[in-house]
């Protein structure tokens, strides 16, 4: 009995380390970044509902290119170039293979704005174009304090330039390190690994049992194993959540300050 417990503990430890290693925590320090709740994330509260809907509609029409508009109240002491890049990468805007994402970020309190362009769209929306959009279509409104029309105008200009063509530019090898793992999948995998190890333990135990006629039933009865509970049953899978699709960013785009 003691040997069985010992073996069982070893397998538990093993499965725990396997499970733990599946989820390496992000070293990037993304805790204070806002959540991607939709195409327009207005955390600074400068857009009214009507304008937000108008912008959302334009952005949706740009699919499969993923363009997100975000406003923030604080840049956490960073310059907008650094913040926008971190946020765009954290949200993973754009499709994984095409890197066709754009983040239009506005920080009204720090008076900085930036259009961050993903690798795949750098050819279509070059730095110069992004700069011109900010300079000519956005800043004139911002300088007057009119954020709504400034953002709307910027979005319209971006939409005008994005005519679907995705141009290949320099892309590094992707390293799968910034994908956040939803809790449900973590639990599911944990349970899966645990039961996998448990079942293998039981099978091995059967193989090694000292032959026929073991009256000592150690209490592990195959009929008692409950069916594996897929964590997904708790979440409504019909709700389509807007999320980034793994697009990558290299620092392209342009900023504006007023």
């Amino acid at each position: 009995m003691r040997k069985n417990i010992f073996l069982f503990l070893i397998f538990c430890f093993f499965s725990l380390t396997v499970w733990a290693n599946l989820f390496r925590p992000s070293i990037l320090g993304n805790e204070s970044l806002p959540t991607l709740t939709g195409r327009v994330v207005d955390n600074a509260g400068i857009l009214d509902v009507k304008t937000e809907n108008k912008i959302s509609a334009i952005l949706e029409s740009l699919e499969p290119d993923q363009v997100v508009v975000a406003t923030v109240s604080y840049l956490n002491g960073k310059e907008i170039e650094e913040y926008a890049l971190q946020l765009a990468r954290y949200w993973g805007i754009g499709e994984k293979e095409k890197d066709n994402g754009i983040l239009f970020l506005i920080a009204p309190n720090e008076r900085q704005t930036r259009i961050e362009v993903g690798y795949g769209l750098e050819g279509t929306l070059s730095d110069v174009l992004a700069h011109n959009i900010i300079r000519k279509k956005v800043l004139p409104y911002f300088k007057r304090g009119d954020y709504q029309n400034g953002i709307l105008s910027g979005v319209q200009a971006i939409a005008t330039h994005l005519n679907g063509s995705v141009v290949e530019s320099e892309k590094p090898i992707s390293l799968n390190k910034s994908e956040p793992m939803p809790l449900g999948i973590m639990i599911f995998l944990g349970i899966f690994v645990f039961f996998f190890v448990l079942i293998s333990f039981l099978i091995l135990k059967e193989i090694f049992s000292s032959g026929k006629g073991t009256k000592r039933r150690s209490g592990y009865n195959t009929h008692n194993i409950p069916s594996i509970n897929y964590g997904r049953s708790k979440r409504s899978s019909t709700r389509t959540v807007f999320r980034g699709r793994g697009g990558r960013f290299g620092g392209g785009g342009s900023s504006g300050r007023w």
Binding site: I27, E81, L85, S126, D127, V128, A130, H131, N132, R135, E170, P172, I173, L175, K177, F208, F249, G250, G251, G252, G253, S254, S255
Partner: protein, 195 residues
């Protein structure tokens, strides 16, 4: 006794799989370091390509600013003369040389931009504005590329220094811990005041 043998055998096989996993991860991370480095070099080159145009445009309006313009041209020549392949990325001396030369070019460019402030016509020139935004974009990309490079090295080093990965790496690959270079920010021009 036979039981023990089987358990050990399974253990060895599992460890074998683990070794393969580690080696393959290290290969991927190593390639990532190499490709991030070539990104850094790409962006340096991109910046160097912008400069001749920039210099000519400025000359059109500020021909008398010979000194600054010459500085930029010379700094660019020096920076482009140092070519580093991905292999040389592990040679700290060569990398330091490259970083230094590129840093000098950055400083020369900042000085040029300061001078440009004196010429409002130049500042309003569309061609100049276009070049300026391209330059700003490239400078930003350089910052990002260097950051990604340092991070790539970090991930590689983390993986290779862990146990038992370090043992595995030493005996089955020729990969070693990479030196992470302190990538200094733009060299600040400190004015020397002579009394």
């Amino acid at each position: 006794m036979k039981k023990l043998f089987f358990i050990l055998l399974i253990g060895v096989v599992l460890f074998g799989f683990y070794c393969v996993n580690v080696i393959n991860s290290l290969v991927l991370l190593d390639e990532n370091v190499k490709s991030s480095w070539s990104q850094v070099l790409n962006q340096y080159e991109r910046r160097a390509d912008l400069i001749p145009n920039l210099v000519n445009t400025v000359k059109g309006y500020a021909a008398h600013e010979e000194m600054v313009l010459t500085e930029v041209i010379e700094a660019r020549a020096k920076a482009t003369s140092i070519t580093l392949s991905a292999k040389d990325a592990t040679n700290p001396e060569m990398v330091a040389q490259l970083q230094s030369a590129q840093g000098d070019l950055s400083s020369a460019l900042s000085r040029l931009m300061v001078v440009v402030e004196k010429y409002p016509e130049l500042k309003a020139n569309e061609n100049f504005l276009s070049l300026q935004s391209q330059l700003e974009g490239t400078e930003n990309r350089i910052v990002v590329a260097r950051k990604d490079y340092v991070e790539a090295i970090k991930y590689f080093n983390i993986k290779i220094r862990k146990i038992p990965n370090n043992w595995i790496a030493k005996n089955f690959t020729d990969l070693t811990v990479k030196e992470s270079f302190s990538i200094e920010p733009q060299k600040q021009e400190v004015p020397v005041v002579q009394f």
